[in-house]
């Protein structure tokens, strides 16, 4: 079962020339030349449609791909090696840069993994859990908007890209108000969050949700029944259910192929088991299905967000002072006002900053439903503040591994559709 899935094409333009008499000109044997050898095309790491630094070596027979070999690793930064030298809190900014289109979701997944190791995942305050769900779903909308916008742009519908990016700007404004940065948020901490919702944020978020649904409708109007889009994506890049499961696909790619699996429903974390939402499942597994799944997931995220904003303990302004971190002084930094005046808080501050939170020895794996799929962290700890081994299970790595299986048999122009519909992020794939 070789990785390089090669196929033979029955009928290509080259072979068809066998039947043309007029081309046997002079020197003889030119028809053999016209049949041609296969051409190796390098869709290099610097390419407008490869969504980051992905290199694919395509072997083409005319217009049809016979072999595809993706070459990843151009964005490899050694995150796992770095994690072995840092405390758990120091690694949080590195998680921003994994799936850099949805940094809040990565922060939440990592914090939950470390909290699982420490055994405090279930005792997080309710307000903290609701805010984390809000962050994850905002990240999901943001990532899918970009994925769909870039997909549509690559396929040819340039307007959709600008529409989705207008809404993403609003999300960035929300995130900037919440965390201080648009992109590299580093919002969660072990045991809680770095800061609470700012005043007026919930109202701003509700206003955004009203506007974004209109935008979804506009994008769907431009794409879903668009003859050209449907022709370019229908029955292109079909991934069967068995292949999707076997290659370890996850997220919308898996659900587009018909597998009913969403970690928020199967192994619920945070408050997802108390929220009402549906999980869209595709039927055929082609690019069009994956587009529809992502579109519907965004609408479901809006539904989740409405419920969270209504139900968040403490309300929009948290006048009652609901906590957002666990009350353990050895894990969460104490308030600054106490640090310089009280001995105990000073010691806690010192220990947490210099030595990190004291995690027990053991190993855990925690997987969260990120926009791209299942982002998992395997942490092996020998006690203390730094992990012995941290492995990041990147959804885009598995999603890309199916390329050599899916691409052969398609035409050159379908590569762009398939890459866009798989919606991977190289930051995550290469770490």
């Amino acid at each position: 079962m070789s990785e390089l899935h090669e196929i033979q094409i029955k009928d290509t333009a080259g072979r068809a020339t066998e039947n043309l008499e007029g081309l046997r000109v002079g020197r003889g044997g030119e028809v053999a030349e016209l049949q041609g050898e296969k051409m190796v095309l390098n869709m290099g790491p610097s390419h407008p449609s490869t969504h980051g630094v992905l290199r694919i070596l395509l072997e083409l027979d005319g217009e049809v791909i016979t072999k595809a070999m993706p070459d990843v690793g151009y964005l490899h930064r050694g995150d796992e090696k770095i994690a072995e030298n840092m405390t758990y809190t120091q690694f949080i900014p590195y998680t921003d840069r994994l799936d850099y289109l949805a940094p809040l979701a990565n922060n939440v997944a990592y914090a939950l993994a470390v909290e699982k190791l420490m055994g405090i995942q279930k005792s997080l305050p309710l307000r903290c859990q609701y805010i984390r769900v809000i962050c994850c779903e905002l990240a999901r909308i943001s990532a899918h908007l970009l994925g769909l916008g870039a997909f549509a742009m690559d396929v040819g519908a340039l307007t959709v890209f600008l529409h989705t990016f207008t809404e993403r700007e609003k999300i960035y404004n929300l995130i900037e108000a919440l965390t201080g940065a648009r992109f590299t948020t580093s919002y969660t901490r072990i045991g809680g969050l770095s800061r609470d919702l700012p005043p007026g944020w919930v109202a701003q978020c509700r206003a955004f949700l009203n506007e974004v649904v209109v935008n979804f409708d506009e994008s769907e109007e431009l794409l879903t029944r668009n003859r050209i889009f449907v022709d370019r994506t229908r029955d292109v890049g079909v991934i069967t259910k068995e292949a999707a499961i076997d290659y370890g696909l996850s997220g919308p790619n898996l659900r587009g192929s018909g597998v009913d699996h969403d970690l928020r429903k199967a192994l619920p974390y945070l408050v997802y088991d108390q929220l009402e939402f549906d999980v869209p499942i595709g039927s055929v597994g082609d690019c069009y299905d994956r587009y529809l799944v992502r579109m519907e997931e965004m609408r479901q995220s809006v539904r989740i967000l409405q419920q969270c904003l209504d139900r968040i303990p403490g309300g929009a302004d948290n006048e009652v002072g609901e906590p957002i971190c666990i009350p353990d002084g050895k894990t969460v930094l104490p308030p600054k006002s106490k640090v310089l005046s009280s001995m105990e808080e000073l010691i806690h501050q010192f220990m947490i900053v210099t030595q990190g939170v004291n995690a027990p020895a053991g190993e855990v794996y925690f997987g969260a439903e990120n926009p791209k799929g299942e982002l998992g962290f395997y942490i092996s700890s020998k006690g203390g503040g730094t992990p012995h081994r941290l492995k990041i299970r990147a959804p885009s790595f598995a999603n890309l591994s199916i390329m050599p299986h899916v691409l052969p048999g398609h035409m050159m122009s379908d590569v762009v559709s398939i890459l866009g519909s798989i919606d991977f992020v190289m930051g995550e794939c290469d770490r």
Binding site: E3, G73, K81, I245, G248, L267, T354, V364, G376, S401
Partner: protein
């Protein structure tokens, strides 16, 4: 996770133990995760086939290696599994020593193991017998080291990509981003320079 899910995870781990007898050295639970230790890495394919076909673990979530530098056997391999039918996770663990350095591939059981094993080979240097295409995936072909091993320094080692580029170790002098956690004084924690 409800208590129903934890019980079923244990049930599957015990079934694994019942089937393989003394090949299973350890069945344990930590924070709700059940893990099964396999004594002999050479029989991993059999164990994985049993896990996939009989226990219903059709999804290989992750395959990773751990370097227990100083212990013998040096490397640990962890197979993280999940089944869509019963929605349970299981972890299979095995060891391989540095001298042997080789384990049979499970890419015949789950095709997703293909790239995962290539990454393990690339980062840790463990070879996989029977792998269809075992070459480096994140680093370039011909890179001479295995970066995730504990004896490979954080700043990297000098290496060459012939005709294209060369790499020098990363300058860590005064780099604020790396501290030696728990060092005895500030100078030990944040060294001003690192000898390469």
């Amino acid at each position: 996770m409800t208590s129903g899910a934890i019980t079923t995870g244990e049930v599957l781990a015990r079934q694994m133990q019942a089937r393989f007898g003394n090949l299973v050295v350890h069945v344990g639970e930590f924070r709700g995760d059940w893990s099964v230790g396999i004594r002999d890495a050479d029989r991993m394919v059999e164990v994985c086939e049993f896990a996939k076909k009989d226990l219903g673990f059709d999804y290989l979530v992750d395959l990773l290696s751990v370097d227990h530098c100083g212990e013998d056997p040096r490397f640990g391999l962890v197979y993280e599994l999940y089944g869509y039918g019963h929605r349970c996770r299981l972890r299979l663990k095995t060891q391989v020593s540095e001298e042997v350095g080789e384990v049979p591939t499970v890419s015949g059981v789950w095709r997703g193991a293909d790239w995962l094993e290539r990454e393990v080979y690339d980062m840790m240097g463990i070879r996989f017998r029977g792998h269809p295409d075992l070459r480096r995936i994140l680093m370039w072909d011909g890179y001479p080291y295995f970066p995730l091993r504990k004896d490979f320094p954080l700043e990297g080692k000098r290496s060459d990509l012939p005709d294209v580029a060369f790499t020098r170790p990363a300058p860590l002098e005064g780099g604020p981003f790396v501290t030696v956690a728990g060092g005895k004084d500030p100078v030990a924690r944040e060294p001003r320079s690192r000898t390469v």
